[in-house]
């Protein structure tokens, strides 16, 4: 049922039965290292190319998800997945081997929540009772596609971010499943917001307005205050974007500073030289939610969170043509049963 401007109330509150996460070496060594399921020390994951490696990170996350639940792939109804690569080849080539009906998605770094929203809507409407939502990214394949070659002797700006290598996957099931696990209660798909930022090395500034728009719209539609949530978690605004988001909200009369957290700020130690403003990429929200925040919810240290993944919808071609960076943010409220 649609409420307010752009929020959907999931009256059948589907549940997130289980999650799975695979990450690369940098994430394994970061502050959240102990929370991830599979930690790979080789950024190639034994494959010959970065792109094949990214597919393997996704396959490994999904295989692990099904292994944890002892469910064969034939029982999965649909999978919603995406990544940052052109034509989403990391997801496509991974799902090719899984024989599950597939919806490929592109929301840049907002893809994970986009997948989760669509999976939840499907289950809520009764179209399936085992639907997987997943998203991946890979530092090397992203640098190749969007920025400069790895071996090039350049310096990154302090506002630049570091793409997370890995994949997060979750299984969404109907409320009728007898386990007490976190549920998806409301989803707010985002609008594209473009405040004219053209600087690819300051994505936080480009994406913060989209996060702001979605968050305040969600709160208004659901008539909730920020304090209702134990945490409002953005995907990858990083240091720069977080400061801007909180300012924009304050100017609008909404104070989220006490509950706001950002996956990009938590996945890496921000004092390390290479990390600059924090983590980014689809896998940032996907892995951090599927490991750390899901566990916090299950163990009831957090009971109601709003996850808001942000994505920058530009390409090297549009930037080359002088376009600015349009962004989008999708939100999903994940709550424990009372």
């Amino acid at each position: 049922m649609k409420i307010g401007k752009q929020t959907i109330k999931l009256q059948n509150t589907p549940k997130i039965l289980e999650t799975s996460s695979t990450v690369g070496p940098k994430e394994s060594a970061g502050p959240l290292g102990i929370y991830f399921d599979i930690k790979c020390s080789d950024v190639f994951y034994g494959e010959k190319t970065f792109e094949k490696a990214e597919s393997k990170f996704m396959k490994s996350a999904i295989d692990n998800l099904l292994y944890k639940l002892n469910i064969p792939t034939e029982k999965i109804d649909f999978v919603f997945a995406g990544d940052l690569l052109n034509q989403c080849i990391a997801s496509g080539y991974c799902i090719r081997d899984l024989n599950i009906p597939f919806f490929g998605l592109y929301g840049a770094c907002s893809t994970f929540v986009e997948s989760l929203i669509l999976s939840s809507l499907f289950v809520n409407a009764g179209y399936g009772d085992k639907v997987i939502a997943a998203a991946s990214s890979h530092f090397c394949s992203a640098e190749r596609q969007f920025r400069l070659p790895l071996e090039h002797g350049n310096q990154k700006a302090p506002t630049a971010q570091c793409t997370v290598t890995g994949c997060g996957a979750v299984l969404v099931v109907p409320n009728s499943i007898e386990k007490k696990v976190p549920m998806v209660t409301y989803v707010t798909p985002g609008k594209i917001v473009d405040m004219g930022i053209k600087d690819m090395s300051n994505m936080g500034a480009a994406m913060a307005p989209a996060a702001f728009d979605t968050i305040v719209t969600h709160l208004k539609d659901t008539e909730r205050k920020p304090e209702y949530y134990d945490a409002i978690v953005t995907g990858d605004l990083g240091k720069e974007g977080t400061d801007i988001l909180i300012d924009l909200c304050k100017n609008y009369g909404v104070d989220i500073s006490k509950v706001h957290r950002d996956c990009g700020k938590e996945i890496y130690d921000l004092n390390l030289r290479d990390v600059n403003a924090g983590g980014s990429g689809c896998a940032c929200m996907a892995t951090v939610f599927s490991s750390f925040f899901y566990q916090e919810l299950k163990e009831k240290r957090l009971n109601k969170i709003l996850i808001v993944a942000t994505g920058a919808l530009m390409s090297p071609i549009s930037i080359g043509q002088g376009e600015s960076i349009p962004s989008i943010a999708h939100a999903a409220a994940i709550e424990n049963e009372v």
């Binding site: 071996e151 002797g153 506002t159 917001v193 500034a205 801007i244 100017n251 609008y252």
Partner: protein
């Protein structure tokens, strides 16, 4: 394009972002660029001087120095060392001729996965190509003007 809830124009937002953005440590970067760039040039001079000591004429000595520096840039890139230098050296590793060969080897390594002709071969000049295009084009313009000045009086 502007958002109905953000009470700023695109220009105001841009200025706001600029004021908040963490700035590069420019003095530190300038010092490192100065030292590393100067050092690479000194290596070039040493090679030239050694060649002249062995009685190679000045023009050829300079060419030998250029070729050896280009080799060094390519070699250090292929063993994954140049990018580490570049993180600290900044322009001190981009501006010297070693940076030119680094910008040729770096993309070529990554695109090797797409084959030797269309992958490696085509992408060698992804970053360095414009240097040749605009360098040679501007030398053509200079040559043309020079010819006009000399011969068309």
């Amino acid at each position: 394009m502007e958002n109905d809830k953000i009470k700023m124009t695109v220009k105001e937002y841009s200025e706001y972002v600029e004021s908040k953005a963490k700035k590069s440590p420019i003095i530190k970067n300038m010092i490192f660029a100065f030292i590393s760039g100067g050092f690479i040039c000194v290596i070039g001079q040493v090679i030239t001087n050694i060649s002249m000591y062995y009685e190679i004429p000045a023009k050829e000595a300079a060419t030998i120095s250029t070729v050896i520096l280009i080799f060094l840039g390519a070699f250090l890139t292929s063993i994954h060392v140049y990018s580490r230098i570049g993180k600290y050296a900044g322009a001190g590793s981009i501006v010297p001729i070693t940076g030119f060969s680094n910008s040729i080897v770096a993309p070529a390594i990554e695109y090797k996965s797409e084959g030797f002709v269309l992958g490696l071969g085509a992408n060698m000049f992804k970053i360095a190509g414009p240097v040749l295009v605009y360098g040679i084009f501007s030398s053509f313009v200079v040559g043309f003007i020079y010819w006009l000045v000399l011969f068309v009086r």
